[in-house]
Subunit: 484 residues, 2 copies
C-alpha cells in the first residue's frame, strides 16, 4: 500500500532509522489528524495480538481473571489519592460534553484505572475469603503527551493493567515481584530482549505507589527502555477508596493492592532491540509470519511444478504449527518479494526453484547473519522448526552480547560525563548517595537518569562505595542511562 | 463476592428478571458513577472473549486483517458525511480539553469509525491492486444513550467494526451479505440463537449507508434484538473522504465500501434467549466453564478417595479440551455449589460420591430439562463431549421452537394491534405499503417497528397483498416486532 523508501542507516540518524523501520515494516503510521496518536496497521497489530495472547496465558496460568471497567472516570475520583492526581493531572484528556449537553462533572479518559477499579473493589471485597482478588484488564488509555513517537510514547496506547488486592502487605509485595518476573520472562523468552529487573527510586516511581519495579532493556543506541512496571500500592488506594475487608479475627482492615502493566510500547522495544539497516527483525515467537516461501521460476513451463512442490511444503509446515506464507503472487519478481519480507522482519525465508527440486532440497536463509543453507526435502518438517528455535536464541544472545559490551561500571565523574556526552548513552552501574537532589543534579547535567536499583541477583552485588557525583557514602551501585 | 439474592420470575417482571440473571450470574454491574456504563465482571468478560475469539477466526479465515485506529475523531470528520453526522450528533461524547488546555478543535470519542478509517483508506488506496482492502477493528465505542440496560444498550460498549473497500459495487454488496452470513452462522451455531436475516427499511438503516442488513433474534418476551448489522456504504464515505483508486483502465474512481459490527450486545441476546427463572443458561460453545464437577462426601474419611477420583476425571476431561472446573472448595456444601454454578449457566454438572465410585459411574445433569443420567467411568471421555453437543443442539432447537410458536402471519389491523397490546410482542409477518409514513404511523400506534425485509430464503416467500395499515398494494410481507 506504500512505495518502498530508503531506510536511513542507524549510524546516520538513529531516530529517523526507527521511523523508517516502522514505516517500511508496515507496522504503524502517525495519525497526524489526532494529536500524538497512531494507527496500528495489520502487520503491527498482528505482533501485538501475539504479545497479548502470550501474556494473557501467563496471567491466567497464575490465577488472574480479565474484566472490563469504564473508559471514563469522574474527575473527583482522581483527586482522592493526592500523589496520583498530581502525577496524572498534566496528561489528562477531559470529556466535558455528552449527548449535546455540558456534564455536571467532567469525566477524564482513563490514563490508568486504579481509581475506578478501587471504587469497585470497595463494593466487591468484604472478607478475607474474597482475597486475593486478581484482576486484569486489556484496554486503551490516554495520556496527553507533548513529545510522541510511534509505539514508544503515544497519546493513546493499548495495554493491560493488572489490579490485585491482598490481605497482607507481604502477599501484595510478592505479587508485585511475581508479575515483574512474568514481564521479564516474556521479554527474554518471547521478545528475545534481555532486561534488568530494578526497583525505582522515589522520584521515578508511579504516582501513588509505595514501591515501583521495572524491567529495563537496552536499545541499540545505548538508551534504556522501561518496558514494564509493577507497583506495590500499599494501602494508598485502599484508604482513598475505602477498600476494607474483615480479617480472620473479625477486624476491619484496608486491603493491600498492586498494579502492573505493559503496553504497545513493548513493540517499540522489540523493533529497537533487533532491527537493522535492512529493516525490521522479528523473533520467531512473535512473528506473524515466521517463514516465507518464495517460488523461483524463469520460464512459464517451470511454474506449475515449482508451485505444486511449494504448496506441498507450505501445507506440511503449516500442519506442524508454523506460521508460513507461500508468496505466489504473480507478476512480482523474487527479488522484490525477498526485499518486502525482509523489511517485514520475517525470520526465515525459504526459496524453491527447479534446480532445488532436482537436488531434492530447499534453500533457507535466516533474516540476519548466517549463510544460506540447504534443507533436504524429507527433513523440512524437523529442520525448519530447529532453524526458528536457533534464530530465536541467536537474537537473544546477540542482544545480550550488545548489552554486555555497552554496560560499564564507572567510578569517577569525568568518565561518567563522557559516557553520556554528545547524545550518547550506555548502561552505567555507579554509586549514588541515595538523595533525590543528587539524582536531579546528575540528570540535569548529563540527561542520564537512575533506571533503578537492581533487584537481588540482577546486576552487580551490593558493595559499599562513594557517590559518583557527591562522594558521599553509598551501599550499592544503581543503573544509570538515558531513557526513552 | 456478592450475596445470593432472589431471581424475579420472568412472568412477574421480565425486565427485573434480566437484571437479576446478570447480577446472579456475576456477569456485569452498572457502573452508576459513570452514566450509562457498566463493569463487565470476569464471568461476563470470559464469555465475551470466547465470542471475540470465535468471530475473529471467522474474519481471518475470510481474509480480514485486524488493525487499530484512534479513539478520538476530529469533530470536522463527522461533518463530512451529511447523514452520518445527523445520525450520530445527539449521541456524542466530546473531549474539549487535553493536557490542561482547551483544544482548538474538539475531538469526539468514536461512536463508530467510518470517518477516521475513511481518512486513512484515502492514503492507503491508490490502485485496483490495493483492493479489496479488508480491515477489522476490535475496540470500545461511546454513544451517549438516554436509556441504558446492561449489555443491550450502554454508553460505552465493546465491539468489532469491519471496514472494507472494493473496486465494484457488486463486490461490496457481496461482502455485506457475506459478513451478515458470518454473523448469522455465529448466532446460530455458537450462541444457539436462531436469527432472521433482513434488509432494513430506509428509516432504520445506518446513518450513511445505501443498504443496511441485520440479523434479528427473538427474545423470550417476544421482542426482537437486532444482533448484528452489515452495511453497504456505496460510495458515500468514498466521496466524503476522497477515497479513490485507479481502475484497470487507468481511470480514477471512488471506492465502494462496507462496514459491519457486532458488540457486547450479543451477550444480552445470549442471556435472554436461553436463561430461565433459575438464572443464566449458556450454550457449551460459549461457556467459560462447560462442565463443573462436584465431589460429594459426608464423612472426612470419604474425602480423600472421592477427591482423588474427581481429580483423575478432571484431568482426563481437561485433556480432551473440555473447560472443566473441579469445585473442591472446602467448607461449602454441594447444594450451595450446585446453586452457584446453576446461576452461572454451566451447561453440565457432574457429581461423584462414594456410592458412585462403588457403582463405577458418575452422575450427570444438564443445566435445563433432562433427567439425571449416569455415565460409566470408562465412557466419560466419549460421553461428556456428546452430552455437551446434545445440549448445544437442544438449546438451539428449544429457541427455534419458541420463535416458531411466537411468529405469526397477520392480515388485519385489529389482530395486529392485539399482538402488540399491553406491552406484549411477537414476531409478525405482515404486508406494508413501503412508505415511511405508514411505518411511522404503525410504530406510533403499536410501538412495533419493521425489523426488516426478509432476505431471499429467510422468511416467507414474496406474495402480493394489502398493507396491514393502509390497505395499499404490497409485494411482500415484512417482519414487525417491538425491539430492544
Amino acid at each position: 500500500m506504500s512505495d518502498i523508501k530508503r531506510i536511513t542507516p542507524r549510524e546516520e540518524d538513529y531516530s529517523q532509522w526507527y521511523l523508517d523501520v516502522v514505516r517500511e515494516g508496515d507496522l504503524a503510521e502517525p495519525a497526524r489528524v489526532v494529536k500524538g496518536c497512531m494507527v496500528i496497521k495489520p502487520h503491527g497489530y498482528a505482533i501485538w495480538e501475539k504479545t497479548r495472547d502470550a501474556l494473557d496465558r501467563m496471567f491466567k496460568d497464575t490465577g488472574h481473571q480479565n474484566a472490563y471497567f469504564p473508559l471514563f472516570i469522574p474527575m473527583s475520583f482522581l483527586k482522592k489519592e493526592a500523589q496520583h492526581v498530581e502525577g496524572f493531572s498534566p496528561e489528562l484528556a477531559v470529556v466535558t460534553h455528552g449527548g449535546g449537553e455540558e456534564l455536571e462533572e467532567p469525566y477524564v479518559v482513563r490514563p490508568t484505572s486504579e481509581t475506578i477499579i478501587g471504587h469497585f473493589f470497595a463494593k466487591w471485597i468484604r472478607s478475607h475469603a474474597d482475597l486475593p482478588l486478581l484482576i486484569n484488564q486489556w484496554a486503551n488509555v490516554v495520556r496527553w503527551e507533548l513529545r510522541t513517537r510511534m509505539f514508544l510514547r503515544t497519546t493513546e496506547f493499548l495495554w493491560q493493567e493488572g489490579h490485585t488486592a491482598h490481605a497482607t502487605h507481604e502477599e501484595a509485595y510478592a505479587e508485585t515481584e511475581r508479575m515483574l518476573d512474568i514481564y521479564a520472562t516474556f521479554a527474554e523468552q518471547w521478545m528475545a530482549m534481555p532486561v534488568f529487573r530494578t526497583v525505582k527510586t522515589e522520584s521515578e516511581k508511579f504516582a501513588g505507589a509505595e514501591t515501583s519495579m521495572s524491567i529495563e532493556a537496552m536499545m541499540q543506541d545505548g538508551k534504556a527502555l522501561q518496558s514494564g512496571t509493577s507497583h506495590d500500592l500499599g494501602q494508598n488506594f485502599g484508604k482513598a477508596f475505602d477498600v476494607t475487608f474483615q480479617n480472620e479475627k473479625g477486624e476491619s482492615e484496608y486491603v493491600w493492592q498492586t498494579s502492573w502493566g505493559v503496553s504497545t510500547r513493548l513493540l517499540g522495544g522489540l523493533i529497537m532491540t533487533h532491527s537493522d539497516d535492512n529493516g525490521l527483525v522479528l523473533p520467531p515467537k512473535l512473528a506473524p509470519v515466521q517463514v516465507v516461501l518464495v517460488p523461483i521460476y524463469r520460464k512459464e513451463k517451470e511454474r506449475a511444478a515449482v508451485l505444486e512442490k511449494c504448496t506441498a511444503i507450505h501445507d506440511d509446515l503449516k500442519k506442524t504449527g508454523i506460521a508460513i506464507r507461500l508468496d505466489d503472487r504473480p507478476g512480482k519478481r523474487p527479488g522484490d518479494k525477498f526485499y518486502e519480507w525482509e523489511r517485514k522482519g520475517v525470520p526465515v525465508r525459504l526459496e524453491l526453484g527447479p534446480r532445488d527440486i532436482e537436488k531434492g532440497h530447499v534453500s533457507a536463509k535466516q533474516r540476519t547473519e548466517g549463510e544460506r543453507i540447504f534443507i533436504k526435502m524429507d527433513q523440512i518438517e524437523t529442520e525448519v522448526p530447529k532453524l526458528l528455535e536457533a534464530f530465536q536464541e541467536h537474537l537473544y544472545n546477540r542482544a545480550l552480547k550488545f548489552r554486555e559490551e555497552n554496560t560499564l561500571q564507572v567510578d569517577n565523574w569525568d568518565d561518567f560525563s563522557d559516557v553520556f556526552a554528545d547524545g550518547k548513552s550506555k548502561f552505567v552501574w555507579a554509586h549514588w548517595d541515595g538523595t533525590a537532589g543528587t539524582e536531579t543534579a546528575i540528570k540535569e547535567e548529563t540527561k542520564a537518569t537512575i533506571r533503578g536499583i537492581p533487584m537481588p541477583g540482577h546486576g552487580p552485588e551490593p558493595e559499599p562505595g562513594k557517590c559518583i557525583k557527591t562522594g558521599a557514602e553509598s551501599a550499592r551501585r544503581v543503573l544509570f542511562a538515558k531513557a526513552y
